[in-house]
Structures are given as structure tokens and as C-alpha cells.
């Protein structure tokens, strides 16, 4: 089976920062707004290089989203940066009315998503943001898996007209996708070929899915791993094609099972190819303080859980 090499752990938020730095040089329409988290979002370079295109809004996310909507009127492409919790739940109505319903070309870039934010605990660990954002008509929802993919996605969304929610995280995680990749919004990536089970993962769980596939291979189980970086619009075709071959699915995400990738996949299957599915996700719960690894272990969001789920779903075929 195809294997992937970790070229060295890096945080996905730094991929965002690097992508934004690149956009600063190549696209004069790009402007950035931040709500008092420049260092955390890795927006320092963009701010230093383009102070006139950078807006520090303070701890006032609602105003940030409204301003971003306004900046599009005049042709700017605003990228807002704050934690995922403050990028979504806190400003849902501002995004709904001023951005999504108004069809504004705003890129909502959200770091520290999910449990892997770690020690700060549940107040900051949003596990509902994918659901909140995917329910908004016209919103594109992307959850990247490593540094390189996050950088490529950041650059790609500037060329896409319309609101985008780009979700990434805090911790250093394996960097394994190609440095020079072309990021295609809405296009699933088949990472391994398999015949027994399809593992559909997003974000930090993609690497865990690859680790699980390796272990399953050693057990004689052939797993097809699909990286879904774009949760909306979802690549229905890639999912149906794979499940037609394997006959069952495990979905894996750092998010509540309600409203997440798993439910989107379940809908595709229900309409196109009913098949057993297991959900690796948080089970309608808040998170808590702990190290990222401890939390992913406790809430069952790692390769060990994916392996168990794969064996279970195969037995259900």
C-alpha cells in the first residue's frame, strides 16, 4: 500500500500564516483582519509587510466580521483570523446576514479548532463549528490536515469568489502532503487504495487514518483512505465510487458527530449507496483541559479508534 512520510511536525496555523504571507505578495486585493490574536494566527508577517492592508480590530469579533463584509464592497478580499470558537459561534448572526446571505467574498480563517487546542479547555475547544458553517447556504467549508495543505488552501481560497470557512488547528502535527500541491476546492484526495473499508477523514484525523490503514494492512485488511479537506461542497462522486468498491465506511473528524463530516457522508450514502458507517467523532459532548494527545485518546479520536471502528464496520457488511 502507498505510504506517506512525515517530513517533520508543523502546526497547520503556520501553514495559514505562510499562505497569507504569500498572498500578501501576489494579490493586492487581499486584506487581513485579526481580533487580538496575531501571534496565535501567525499573521505577524502579513502585518509587518502590509500594515496598510492589515486591520487589528481588538477583542470585537462581531465588528470584525461586519467590517470584513464591508471591505468586500470596493473589491477587497478580507481574511479574518481568530480562534474557531470566536470565528463561528460567537458571530453566527453576523456571518449569516452580513456575509453568507449578502454573498460577500469573506474568508473566515479559524485556528485552534477542536480538542487539540488542549489545556485552555472546553470554553475554547469548539466541536460544533463545521456544523454551524456548513448549514449556511453558499458557505464553503474546508478543514485542512497538515501545514502544506493549509498553506495551499489559504492561497486557493483567495481565487474562489464567495464566503469560505477555513478551519485549522494549534498543535504541531505530521506534515505529509506535497509542498507544491495544487489545492482544488471540493475535490477529495484518495490517499491509499483499498477494497475492504473506506476511511474518510478530515483535518488532524487524516494522518491518524493513514496510521490506521497501515496497521489494518498488517492485519490483512485493505483500507482506502480519503482525505476530505472540503466538507462543503462535498465530493459525493469520490465517496460513492469508493464505497461501491469497499461496501462500508468509517468517517473521522475532530468534531461532534452531530453536524460534522460524518453526517454529510451519511447523507451521500443514504441517497446514493446505502452502506454501514461508523463515526469517529466526539459524542455530543464538550471537551476539557489536557494535552492534545491525552484528549484525542480520551475522546477516541486517534488511529486506535479508527482501527476498531474499521473492524466493526466490516463485520456489519
Amino acid at each position: 500500500m502507498k505510504t506517506y512520510t512525515n517530513t517533520g511536525n508543523k502546526d497547520t496555523r503556520s501553514g495559514f500564516g505562510a499562505g497569507l504571507t504569500e498572498l500578501g505578495k501576489t494579490n493586492e486585493k487581499v486584506v487581513a483582519l485579526c481580533a487580538d490574536l496575531i501571534g496565535s494566527l501567525k499573521m505577524d508577517d502579513f502585518k509587518a509587510n502590509h500594515p496598510e492592508r492589515f486591520f487589528q480590530v481588538g477583542i470585537a469579533e462581531a465588528n470584525m466580521i461586519g467590517m470584513a463584509a464591508g471591505l468586500t464592497i470596493g473589491g477587497k478580499i478580507p481574511f479574518t483570523g481568530t480562534f474557531a470558537n470566536f470565528s463561528t459561534g460567537r458571530v453566527y448572526d453576523q456571518i449569516r446576514q452580513s456575509v453568507a446571505y449578502s454573498d460577500k467574498n469573506v474568508k473566515i480563517c479559524a485556528s485552534h479548532a477542536g480538542l487539540t487546542l488542549g489545556e485552555d479547555g472546553a470554553t475554547h475547544q469548539i466541536l460544533e463549528d463545521i456544523g454551524l458553517m456548513k448549514m449556511l447556504p453558499g458557505m464553503t467549508v474546508i478543514n485542512t490536515c497538515d501545514y502544506n495543505q493549509t498553506k495551499a488552501a489559504t492561497i486557493a481560497i483567495a481565487d474562489h469568489h464567495g464566503p469560505v470557512y477555513l478551519r485549522f488547528g494549534r498543535p504541531s502535527v505530521p506534515n505529509f502532503t506535497p509542498e507544491d500541491q495544487k489545492f482544488e476546492i471540493g475535490k477529495a484526495l484518495q490517499l491509499t487504495e483499498g477494497t475492504d473499508v473506506t476511511i474518510i477523514a478530515t483535518g488532524h484525523l487524516v494522518w491518524e487514518a493513514l496510521e490506521a490503514a497501515k496497521a489494518l494492512h498488517e492485519k490483512g485488511i485493505s483500507a482506502e483512505v480519503i482525505d476530505i479537506h472540503t466538507i462543503k461542497p462535498l465530493d459525493d462522486e469520490a465517496i460513492l465510487k469508493s464505497v461501491a468498491k469497499t461496501g462500508c465506511v468509517v468517517t473521522a473528524e475532530e468534531h461532534n458527530y452531530m453536524g460534522g463530516l460524518g453526517e454529510s457522508v451519511a447523507r451521500v450514502l443514504a441517497l446514493g449507496h446505502p452502506a454501514p458507517q461508523e463515526f469517529i467523532a466526539t459524542q455530543d459532548t464538550f471537551g476539557e483541559s489536557g494535552t492534545p494527545a491525552q484528549l484525542m485518546e480520551k475522546y477516541g479520536l486517534n488511529s486506535a479508534s479508527i482501527i476498531k471502528a474499521a473492524e466493526k464496520v466490516i463485520a456489519r457488511k
Binding site: V31, A60, A62, G66, A69, G75, Q94, R96, S98, S102
Partner: protein
């Protein structure tokens, strides 16, 4: 248009439009619409330097944002009569498949509308963003916005006010419709706003007061002062004292007509008090 009488005639016609629109669908917000009729008429026909045709970016012209979107009847009437879309389309207000939604939106592509509004408190932030875009584009034109006084109870306004003053957004004139009324009663009873002038000044804004906000000449004078205060490093706020329901005697000075349509008889009285000037749609 520069003749005050012409603006007054247009305002009378706009009042008729407002009454007929909300009457037809037995819904909508006549009170605040009537209260702001003179202001929005003056804005679009005298105060703003705007292009005849609509494009979303509005580069090279003054642009306006209606934050208190529920007064859509007056906005639609003024936009139509300024030539953004046919006045006959006012007939479709709040009907299925209409571009004239209950609250203004860009979703159906109605010319003249640049952002959706209705959920209150969001327009000032949008106006500030658009004002910043104008600066980046070296566009010396201004951004105007209108907000209800009750709307100031939404916290986002105060975030926006802090930002605009702290970042020298001096190409923005935000007008507050001070009619002292909101859905549940007088603002002083529902949630007192205190001294709005002092609050804006404390936040670092220049404040211009128009004490007769239903008098076209006073509006023109006050807005000229407001315009003269732009470009001085501070955002400008206009406190426009209006009478809710202005021009229809039984709708005036009360919150009762905030979101209620007149019946046939009430419509007839309202129209009688505002004789046709430019022709009904």
C-alpha cells in the same frame, strides 16, 4: 435636484408609496419609514454624490448602508424613484418571488442594496469596512449609514464606534434616527439610551445634531455641516431627531405603528393627508 420644494414633493410621494406598500401586504414597518422619509430623500437626491447606475463596489461615488433594515419601504421607494429599478416593482413588496424582500437583501440582486440588513446592529461595522476599502482605493468619496436609536442597544455598535474612532475612520457619516421609540415602547422605558450625544463624543466621534429631522432644509444644512467635519481624523455621527410616523397624523409620536399596516380606512386618511405629487406607482 436642488429645489427644496421638489424634495418635499418627492417626500410626499414616498410617503404615499410607503403607506400603499405596507397596506397591500398588511405587513411591514411604516412608522420608522415615514420618520426617515425626508432624510433618505435628501440623501439620495441632494447630499450624496452617486452614479446613476448601480455597481456593488461603488468606487468613485458616495455609498449608503441602511442598518435598520425594517424601514425597507422608504428605502425601496427612494431607490426606485432615484431610478435604480422600476417604480412598478414597489407593487411586489414582500410578495413571493420579489426582489423587494421584507428586509433589504443583495440575495435577489436588487440594485441599490449592498448588504442585507434586518438583524439589527450590523450596519455600522459594514459601513466602516466599506469606508476603509475607500481609503485603500484612494477613493475620496464618503460612506453614509443610517441606524435606529433602539438599534444602539445592540452591542456590536459600540465595538464599531470604538474601532472607527480609534482608527481615524473619518470618511464615514453615521446617522442615528433619534425618534425615541422602539417596538415595545419609548426607548427611555424599554432600555434607556442615556445621552447619546455624550456617548458618541466619549467614544471619540464628532457629533452633529439635526433637531428638526423632518425638515428638508434643516437636514440639508445639518448634513453640510457633517460633511465639512469629515477628513479630520474622526468619524462623524449625525443625531437626527425625527417623529416616527411623520406626515400621517394618527401614526405620529407613537411606537404603535412601528410594524403595523394601516387598514383600508386608515390608508385613505393617510393618502388624503399626502396628495399625489409625482404619480403613484
Amino acid at each position: 435636484m436642488s429645489n427644496t420644494q421638489q424634495l418635499e414633493d418627492l417626500t410626499t410621494q414616498v410617503r404615499r408609496d410607503i403607506l400603499r406598500m405596507v397596506h397591500k401586504v398588511n405587513s411591514g414597518h411604516p412608522g420608522g419609514s415615514l420618520g426617515c422619509a425626508e432624510f433618505i430623500v435628501a440623501l439620495y437626491n441632494e447630499i450624496m454624490d452617486r452614479k446613476d447606475t448601480f455597481d456593488m463596489d461603488g468606487i468613485g461615488e458616495d455609498i449608503f448602508f441602511l442598518s435598520n433594515g425594517h424601514i425597507s419601504p422608504v428605502f425601496y421607494s427612494v431607490l426606485a424613484r432615484a431610478g435604480y429599478f422600476p417604480v412598478e416593482e414597489l407593487n411586489t413588496f414582500r410578495l413571493i418571488n420579489s426582489r423587494l424582500q421584507g428586509h433589504p437583501t443583495t440575495h435577489e440582486g436588487l440594485p441599490g442594496v449592498r448588504v442585507a440588513s434586518g438583524s439589527l446592529g450590523q450596519g455600522m461595522s459594514v459601513a466602516i469596512g466599506a469606508a476603509q476599502a475607500k481609503k485603500l482605493n484612494n477613493d475620496s468619496h464618503l460612506v453614509y449609514s443610517l441606524h435606529g436609536d433602539g438599534e444602539l442597544q445592540e452591542g456590536q455598535n459600540w465595538e464599531a464606534m470604538m474601532y472607527a474612532a480609534g482608527n481615524n475612520v473619518d470618511n464615514l457619516i453615521a446617522t442615528i434616527d433619534l425618534n425615541g421609540q422602539q417596538i415595545d415602547g419609548p426607548t427611555d422605558v424599554v432600555l434607556p439610551l442615556g445621552n447619546v450625544k455624550e456617548k458618541f463624543e466619549a467614544f471619540g466621534w464628532i457629533v452633529v445634531e439635526i433637531n428638526q429631522g423632518n425638515n428638508i432644509e434643516e437636514i440639508l444644512k445639518g448634513m453640510a455641516v457633517a460633511k465639512s467635519k469629515t477628513g479630520q481624523g474622526k468619524p462623524v455621527c449625525v443625531l437626527l431627531k425625527t417623529v416616527m410616523g411623520n406626515g400621517v397624523d394618527f401614526m405620529m409620536h407613537t411606537h404603535a405603528w412601528h410594524g403595523k399596516a394601516p387598514n383600508d380606512e386608515q390608508l385613505a386618511i393617510g393618502l388624503e393627508q399626502n396628495a399625489e405629487t409625482l404619480g403613484d406607482y
